[in-house]
């Protein structure tokens, strides 16, 4: 009886590597950092990472599909600028809608370039990354734009019982994304295409359509991330998130255990990855580690986590090939 439990837990840990890693990090942090384990800090951790998490959800779709999206963060800075800058002329609601539409449109362009023009996803999204970056600089004229709407700012900084509105939105989106991936035809197609595009195609799945939709989803979350960042920071600068936030979003999803080869992963992994990376910087900040050392630790920890994940995934990958 006991043994089967242990075995079950063991196999759960082995397939969901993010869980043991998360537990280890959490315990380590709680023991060594006195202010870490408190309700306010745990909520703080969630609130800090909600926007990154929302973008990681979109990225998860694309990564399970076997691609990744480099353009998401410059897209975010573009929509942040649009949603703030259009408020006086269009009104807050419409400005947000335009920003989300732009996000979706960029996602659609990415999807088109990858599926119809057959351009390598890295190239296509890198090109769009440059394009969005240029567009956000041109739109904002290199200046920081301040959103004028009170309600917009109140949404960005508001909380319910310590949980920010943005975090609540993040959690809702996690469940929606989980539902889509798990229980809809599109979700199943995504896993099939990511796992093996050829056999998915032979099984009659419209690979191009699936990929296209996933890029659109990713673009949408990028657009949403931008709107939320503008509300959260109370300002939209064209350089927000540059140079490494998009890599951090991808890293979070991969550290969580989604395979960059596609076919493996779910949004909970990505949540775990986002929290792990968020925790690293939170802990280093709380410890008052010297700035240089904290950069060094971030790099080392990313590599170590990746290695541990790799070793623990060994069995599964063997099965897959």
């Amino acid at each position: 009886m006991n043994r089967t439990y242990i075995n079950k837990i063991r196999s759960f840990m082995a397939t969901n590597t993010v869980v043991p890693i998360l537990i280890i990090c959490f315990l380590g942090a709680s023991i060594f950092v006195d202010t870490f384990f408190s309700m306010s800090n745990v909520l703080n951790l969630l609130n800090q990472n909600a926007m990154k998490g929302i973008m990681a959800i979109g990225m998860t779709f694309v990564i399970i599909n076997g691609y990744f999206d480099m353009s998401i963060v410059t897209l975010m800075s573009l929509t942040a600028a649009l949603s703030s800058g259009l408020q006086p002329s269009l009104g807050t609601g419409l400005a947000i809608v335009v920003a989300l539409l732009v996000g979706t449109a960029v996602g659609a362009i990415n999807g088109f370039l990858v599926t119809k023009a057959r351009i390598n996803a890295f190239v296509a999204t890198l090109a769009m990354m440059l394009g969005c970056r240029g567009a956000s600089y041109i739109y904002s004229g290199e200046k920081t734009i301040i959103p004028k709407s009170e309600g917009f700012l109140a949404f960005g900084s508001g909380t319910v019982l310590g949980v920010s509105y943005i975090s609540i939105l993040f959690i809702l989106l996690l469940f929606v994304a989980h539902f889509v991936l798990r229980y809809t035809k599109h979700g199943r197609n995504t896993y099939a295409v990511g796992g093996n595009a050829r056999s998915a195609f032979n099984a009659g799945i419209d690979c191009d359509k699936t990929t296209f939709i996933n890029f659109v989803i990713c673009g949408f979350t990028g657009g949403l991330g931008g709107v939320l960042y503008a509300a959260f920071l109370g300002a939209a600068s064209p350089s927000v998130g540059w140079p490494d936030l998009h890599m951090m979003v991808i890293a979070a999803v991969v550290v969580g255990g989604c395979s960059l080869l596609g076919g493996i992963g779910n949004v909970w992994y990505s949540l775990g990855g986002v929290i792990i990376l968020g925790m690293i910087s939170n802990v280093l900040n709380l410890l008052n580690v010297q700035a240089y050392i904290s950069t060094l630790c971030t790099g080392l920890i990313i590599i170590v986590v990746l290695y541990v994940d790799r070793v623990m995934h060994m069995n599964r990958k063997r099965k897959k090939t």
Binding site: R10, A14, I24, C25, G28, A29, F32, V33, D34, T35, S38, S40, N41, N44, N47, Q48, E142, K143, T144, I145, I146, L153, G156, S157, F232, L233, G234, A235, S237, P238, S239, V240, G241, W242, L245, S281, N282, V283, N285, L286, L287, N288, V289, Q290, A291, Y292, I293, S294, T295, C297, L300, I301, V304, V305, Y307, V308, V311, M312, M314, N315
Partner: protein
């Protein structure tokens, strides 16, 4: 399976040792920064309760410690000076990223610091952070770079150089050198950074109503290398005789411009920097390649800021909101008479 368990053990050992060594490294931050020795890392609860009952705890989010020599010197001075004042300084580096800074402010609020100093990456982005800290009943002040006017209600005070004045005074010096008539180029600092906008504002104020004309302005990203490239391209565009001077955002950019001029063997363009934060740059003023700049000492800046922070943490009243430090304009002719203290 064995390998997996091994991996878990290996990971846990590494994580633990990293967090632990992180703490120690924080405490011995002396190694790289030299002068600033032991900032006590509160790695254990008892350590904290012992030392913290008396020491004021001040949180400082820096814009970008590694950005240039000015900020690095500022950072190490702030640390060592805080030590001598008996302040527990929690210094974090935002690496020029607004989102990181917003998160770090939240982390410091969690830490319940007595005073929060913000060196904003972005003047508009700093407003929300200042507001948040104010709402958590933590007095906030800005250092070196002010935040947007809309956020001033959340602040106790601001300490730093007056960027507009620096821009005006250096430009006046340039106008005087040019004999009141001429054309010049401007190499700007990081876009969206309020120090850049304010210095440019000062430059524009000073040329208003004179016969000195600003031909073109491009950003050099506050970097020597980028500024050199911009200047190289400018020199192609503006051949000999069509431009008299170039004004740069800071001394790093000015040296980049000087390098470009040397490489192109051009001597017809005078180089000015709005402000100079690196002591080594004085040698360029001595040999006349840098025609004028406002001297801004990071040490004075950092020490003044920490003095004010201590007052704020003790609850003393600050009379003036704007507290500017002295930034005299140096030229090759007056450098000796200024008697600049080494920093």
């Amino acid at each position: 399976m064995k390998k997996q368990i091994l991996a878990i053990i290996c990971a846990s050992v590494l994580t633990f040792s990293l967090t632990a060594c992180g703490g120690q490294d924080g405490s011995s931050s002396a190694a790289p920064t030299g002068a600033s020795s032991k900032t006590e890392a509160p790695s254990t609860a008892e350590n904290e309760s012992k030392s913290d009952s008396k020491k004021p705890k001040i949180g400082f989010v820096f814009n970008d410690v590694s950005g240039d020599t000015y900020m690095t010197t500022y950072y190490s001075t702030a640390q060592s000076y805080a030590e001598s004042l008996g302040i527990e300084l929690l210094a974090l580096d935002s690496q020029n990223d607004m989102t990181k800074q917003a998160n770090q402010v939240r982390d410091l609020i969690t830490k319940k610091v007595d005073t929060l100093i913000i060196w904003p990456c972005n003047s508009e982005g700093g407003v929300a952070s200042a507001k948040l800290a104010k709402e958590a009943n933590i007095p906030v002040m800005t250092a070196n770079t002010p935040i947007d006017k809309s956020g001033e209600e959340y602040l106790t005070c601001h300490v730093g150089p007056s960027n507009v004045r620096e821009g005006e005074e250096t430009t006046k010096q340039m106008i005087e050198d040019l004999g009141g008539k001429g054309k010049f180029l401007y190499i700007d600092g990081k876009p969206g950074y309020s120090t850049s906008t304010q210095r440019q504002e000062g430059v524009k104020n000073a040329i208003e109503g004179t016969d000195v004309e600003l031909l073109e302005s491009q950003t050099g990203q506050s970097s020597r290398d980028k500024s050199q490239q911009v200047m190289e391209n400018f020199l192609i565009k503006y051949p000999e005789g069509s431009v008299d001077a170039v004004m740069c955002f800071d001394d790093n950019e000015a040296i980049g411009a000087i390098n470009a001029l040397k490489a192109a063997k051009r001597t017809d363009v005078k180089v000015y920097a709005v402000a100079c934060g690196d002591y080594n740059t004085l040698s360029y003023i001595e040999d006349g390649t840098l025609a004028g700049t406002a001297l801004q000492s990071p040490i004075t800046d950092a020490k003044t800021t920490m003095d004010f922070a201590l007052k704020v943490a003790k609850g003393e009243k600050i009379d003036t909101f704007e507290n500017s430090i002295e930034t005299p304009v140096a030229t090759p002719s007056n450098l000796k008479s200024l008697n600049v203290e080494k920093w």
